[in-house]
Amino acid sequence: MIDVRNGTVMVNIPLGLNRAHGSSSSTKPNAAGFLRVKDVCRQFDSIFATRNVSIDIAEGEFLVMLGPSGSGKTTLLRIIAGFETATSGAIEIRGRDVSRDPPNKRNIGVVFQNLALFPHLTVFKNVAFGLEMRSVPNDEIRVRVREALEMVRLGGMTERLPSQLSGGQQQRVALARALVTRPDILLLDEPLSALDRDLRSEMQYEIRRIQQQLGITAVMVTHDQDEAMTMGDRIAILCDGQLSQIGAAEDIYSHPNSAFVARFMGAANIFPVESTKMQNGETSARLASGFETTAIVSPATAEGSLAVLIRPEDIAIGDAAADMRNRAQARVVDQTYLGAFTRLVVDIDGGPNLAVLLPSRSRPARLGEMRLEDRIAVGWNSDAVLVVPA
């Protein structure tokens, strides 16, 4: 279930940026536990910012921590970096407990939300800073800074001040500065939130490219679901300081373990469930409105209130609905053309309003002529409906 990228995609990079330990396989720790977050809690007075979070991150993996603001994702990143101390629990990097180490002893690279470029230092001096701290000889500093800047495609700007660069260029300097020291782990705290949309997707691609090229282990924080899916090998979803779900983007999208995760991953049709029952080996869920549908019950489901999630793209209309396990008559209440897709909202007789997502090209012929208030047949199979904890 876990897509582990353990650095084997690494090609031989002539930049000298390969991490020094990359070849010494004898000291190589268990790939699955390169960075371990062990049962970490962080309490401010009586409020938990982070509560019993455990995550294992493999070497070379790109983990994205996704959650709404206040979910504790930034706190967790700062604990990994060492800017904050966990109230309990531990952080291990390459099998070593670093919980008590200050940030400067952890061999990390951090890209900050506001980039935190040193405003009084040139691009060169900014990137060279970490190397100077490690007492790297001047000749080598020059070579490595140049390589790092070339890697982020920013050669020839070494003598400028950060204020003389564009937003995207500053972003690249911050990335080069974080990577030039060959850190064990790259930490990114919403690094792209200040950029506009085009630049943002360009940088998403760039960061991903460089991360894979170097095979570096990376942890990024974001509140943007698309960004998380674009960049992460795995996504960890946090809510109220707790880890809700962790897994590959596809896993989480198709098997959310709670209504919260489903909603956060962009699902549209989520309804509270009044009761469920087993009948002929099938589960049937009854909504508050009395409407019933067959469904699959998520393994995460336990006692307590439940919700169903019906994926808009799994719903068929018109003739295609005839073969489906669940069928109903409905009234069209809204229709929005979204380019590749067309989104309908239908009001099911005796049931809820459902969002339906259809490919615009392959839509049934009738769709083009459809008007608001038209009556149509809708249908879906059991596997389009997931019962999850509310």
Binding site: N104, G109, V110, Q113, F129, G130, R177
Partner: protein, 265 residues
């Protein structure tokens, strides 16, 4: 029209206030250039002879020597003490109320009470009338200015920058030395000049603690006025005026004085 007129009246009034604020300093300054030994503002003839007389006057030259040696020393001490305290308070202390009060209070208490307190304290130690006691009390009075000025400078340096330096391998001290200090250089200069002026102009505490034995320039001027004012005293005062005014201009250029001098929380 009505609004315009009242605005003009207000402007005129404000300039009158400005005149009132600078009047005594301006008079002293002008009188120091007058050729006669009377205290008048020169009209036709201007002279520097009182400054020459000042240079010949051993009492005054000694006082200037004392003041101009002591003030920089006081400034350096106050900036270090106030700066370190300000850094710690800004970065690490979440409820700074009490500790902040300790570093601000010396300039908010009644000067007379503070002077008596200093006098009694140093008397108990047998240190009254010593230069050490005067220097220490000047530092105590100057620290609040350094604390305030540097506190606002340090607040202006984003914590992220130090964290970035630390994530790149710098220790806290190195991060401060390489990142924060260069960025707050204007603030440091401003704080140092503030403290310099405070020490240069201080008289009440000096009077009590130094008992007129440690003759800083203000004490010397104070002594001389007892024999009556002379243009030479005005010349000595004018030197202090010029130094202070230069500092004011510098401060306005670097940190914006309205923020720096405000004593509010």
């Amino acid at each position: 029209m009505k609004g315009n007129l009242s605005k003009k009246i207000l402007a005129g009034y404000s300039w009158l206030t400005v005149v009132f604020l600078v009047l005594p300093q301006a008079i002293v300054f002008l009188v120091s250039f007058n050729p006669s030994s009377r205290l008048v503002i020169p009209t036709s003839e201007w002279t520097l002879k009182w400054y020459a007389a000042l240079a010949e006057n051993e009492e005054f030259t000694t006082s200037f020597l004392i003041s101009f040696l002591m003030a920089p020393f006081v400034a350096v001490c106050a900036v270090i003490l106030g700066g370190v305290a300000a850094y710690a308070v800004v970065r690490f202390v979440s409820r700074p109320g009490l500790i902040e009060a300790l570093f601000i209070a010396p300039i908010l208490l009644p000067v007379t009470a503070l002077s008596v307190a200093m006098f009694l304290f140093f008397h108990t130690l047998g240190m009254t009338n010593t230069i050490a006691a005067v220097v220490i009390s000047h530092v105590v009075i100057a620290v609040p200015y350094a604390f305030r000025t540097l506190g606002s400078s340090i607040r202006g340096v984003n914590t992220y920058l130090e964290e970035a330096a630390m994530s790149l391998g710098a220790s806290r001290v190195t991060a401060v030395r390489r990142i924060t200090l260069p960025m707050i250089r204007p603030g440091i200069a401003a704080a140092a000049l503030f403290c310099l002026i405070v020490s240069l102009d201080e008289i009440t505490v000096t009077l009590f603690v130094g008992g007129r034995q440690i003759k800083t320039v203000p004490i010397q001027i104070f002594d001389q006025t007892e024999y009556g004012l002379s243009p030479m005293v005005a010349a000595a005062s004018s030197i202090l005026i010029v130094v202070s005014t230069l500092v004011i201009l510098f401060l306005i250029k670097t940190i914006g004085l309205d923020n720096a001098y405000s004593l509010k929380r």
